[in-house]
């Protein structure tokens, strides 16, 4: 049986490690790998993206091979494998949202921010991308911003303007 307590904890903050310990305790003994996704969310919330160094540290903490973290990070779309803007606007681009104007909203965001999908604005504040169905089809077009992932629904050009101004002044 692997025991998480004995493992090398790297240099994550003690608070973060305490959170990891709490997450690992949700799963049966020896199944600490189950904690991988929630732990990766915690790390990304703190660091803004998923660096190889972080993934290696997570692997060490969970006593699994680094490749087991990499293969998960590359499979799930919520993990950013390169640095992003401070605020990543993720806009739903799937059918039901397109029926109510998601494509126009994405064009507007591109114009407004002046960067293409996946790129970061010069001030480092924003990036944006289209994502698949966010389960908010009744209130589309819709976007969310991590790490809280609060949904901004029924988007219009005006509400985008307002949101971006708010984030800039935050």
């Amino acid at each position: 049986m692997l025991s998480v307590k004995d493992t090398e904890k790297g240099d994550f903050s003690p608070e973060l490690i305490a959170k990891f310990d709490e997450i690992v305790a949700r799963y049966p003994e020896g199944q600490q790998k189950s904690a991988l996704l929630p732990i990766m969310h915690e790390v990304q919330a703190q660091e803004g993206w998923m660096s190889v160094a972080s993934m290696d540290k997570i692997a060490t903490y969970l006593k699994i091979q680094p490749i087991e973290v990499y293969e998960v990070a590359t499979f799930y779309t919520m993990f950013f494998l390169r640095p992003q803007g401070k605020y990543v606007l993720e806009v739903c681009r799937t059918g039901p949202c397109c029926l109510v104007g998601a494509e126009e909203i994405m064009e507007y965001i591109e114009k407004k921010l002046g960067v293409k999908e996946g790129e970061v604005t010069e001030d480092g504040l924003f990036s944006w991308r289209g994502v698949e169905c966010m389960a908010a089809c009744g209130a589309g077009p819709v976007l969310h911003i991590g790490p809280e992932y609060k949904y901004h629904e029924n988007l219009t050009e005006e509400s985008i303007d307002k949101l971006i101004t708010e984030l800039k002044n935050k």
Binding site: R26, H41, F79, E132, G140
Partner: protein
């Protein structure tokens, strides 16, 4: 007014808190199950209710539960599938946001019936807000003695945890979900063995949709027989429908099974019709994976009967003229919508979400995406239409999990019912960039059936 079971108190201020939920009769099902019914009693009620899986497949929940293996000394698990990602479906997110305790209560009762002492709710990672809501609800229930050790002095222990996904549609497939819960890539497993025998950590496991588990609460409270009285035929009870697309009142509705599709779309109690004075062109009735139907076939079956919101009525006519209730993701298209563009959009979705294990799905979805892209962008040819049909046919049924079928059906059905629109795109490459094909005859009443 139709009967409401899941959303009965949804407009009650504070219903998301334990206090208000309890005051309005919440957690009675836990008391009844633990104190009088016992695990076998709960299972019997669920069987009697005729409840069918609300995630899309419509498999009888009671039967699924009865398949659970119960070897001595090996823990069993209940896992709630809250990885709601089917385009057009947003009922589970709604329920978890506004009435989280009904899910928690359902999880307690269901776990008790199955003999599970550790249960998980797998919520898609995008729903961080709902994850926090559920964690709060769990803490409240635990503080009130409905979770943890020796619940209500019955000797039954249960720990309930929320587990986040991280943006993968495929994790809604139950074995992919279990892989993901084990901290791996969400690659569906080959079945058998089914999760009921070898699921989470190789232990017997039941995976149920949020709405199925929440429905267990009223089944236990009122009895399976009462529940089975609602609805029509083998489609018992109420169903949450997510109404999206071009509808006046989009949102989540709880309907009694058997409501007519026409009433659902046009009555003011439900969707209120199509906005901006437009006409209905097509409907995807059960989430993006089910066949799309033109307006005339969604309102009436091919034999001229009213189409009803039930598993059987929506499926009437098979895939030739019918569709499926699926997850209840109801997407309406008005006359300005382009079926080719929408089909391409859905196909791009499936390409993006294919896990890549099986060649027919991995290669086929990419192939269909490219062909549909070229038709949509004025570079298609007639042979492309047949090619799409051929590729779809070769994906269907040839993959480990149903994602392949889910990718093939929308394409096959769009061509089946809207072939003239695809041909129009090919014949008018320039014009199709600037305007839509329009309504054609899709909303015309069906001509009387010719006896063959």
């Amino acid at each position: 007014m139709a009967r409401k079971l899941l959303l009965e108190h949804i407009n009650e201020p504070g219903i998301e808190t334990f206090e208000v939920y309890r005051r309005l009769g919440g957690y009675r099902a836990v008391e009844k199950a633990l104190k009088s019914l016992g695990p076998g009693g709960v299972l019997e009620e669920v069987k009697t209710s005729g409840l069918r899986g609300r995630g899309g497949a419509g498999f009888p929940t009671g039967m699924k539960w009865s398949f659970l293996a119960k070897p001595e000394g090996i823990p069993r698990h209940l896992v709630c599938n809250a990885d709601e990602s089917e385009p057009g479906t947003f009922k589970d997110r709604y329920l978890m946001t506004y009435n989280p305790h009904v899910l928690i209560e359902g999880m307690i009762v269901s776990s008790f019936a199955l003999g599970a002492n550790t249960s998980y709710i797998y919520v898609r990672g995008e729903m961080m807000v709902q994850i926090r809501i559920l964690e709060k609800a769990i803490a409240e229930a635990k503080a009130a003695g409905f979770l943890g050790k020796n619940i209500l002095n019955s000797g039954y222990d249960l720990e309930l945890y929320v587990h986040p996904g991280a943006g993968a549609y495929i994790c809604g497939e139950e074995t992919a979900l279990l892989e993901s819960l084990e901290g791996k890539r969400g690659n569906p497993r080959i079945k058998p063995p089914f999760p009921a025998v070898s699921g989470l950590y190789g232990r017997p496991t039941v995976v149920n949709n949020v709405e199925s588990i929440a429905a267990v609460v009223s089944i236990v409270n009122d009895g399976g027989e009462e529940y089975a009285k609602i609805g029509i035929g083998r489609s018992t009870g109420t169903k949450l429908i997510s109404a999206g697309g071009n509808l006046k009142n989009r949102g989540v509705y709880e309907i009694e099974m058997g409501l007519s599709v026409e009433e659902f779309i046009y009555s003011d109690e439900y969707c209120g019709g199509i906005p901006n004075g437009k006409r209905l062109k097509a409907v995807v009735a059960g989430g993006s994976s089910v066949p799309i139907l033109p307006a005339n076939l969604i309102l009436k079956t091919a034999s001229g009967e009213d189409r009803l919101m039930s598993y059987e009525s929506l499926a009437e006519g098979g895939f030739q003229t019918g569709t499926m209730l699926g997850s209840g993701g109801f997407i309406a298209f008005d006359e300005d919508q382009c079926i080719v563009r929408n089909t391409w959009n859905f196909t791009r979705f499936y390409r993006h979400e294919s896990c890549g294990q099986c060649s027919p799905c991995r290669e086929g979805t990419g192939w269909m995406d490219k062909v549909l892209y070229s038709i949509e962008h004025g570079q298609g040819s007639y042979s492309d239409i047949d090619l799409l049909v051929n590729v779809a046919k070769n994906i269907e049924g040839n993959t480990i999990c149903p994602l392949g079928d889910a990718a093939a059906w929308p394409v096959a059905s769009a061509i089946r019912h809207f072939r003239d629109e695809f041909e129009w795109h090919i014949n008018n490459p320039q014009e199709s960039q600037n305007r839509n094909f329009g309504l054609a005859h899709y909303a015309d009443a069906l001509s009387p059936q010719v006896d063959s």
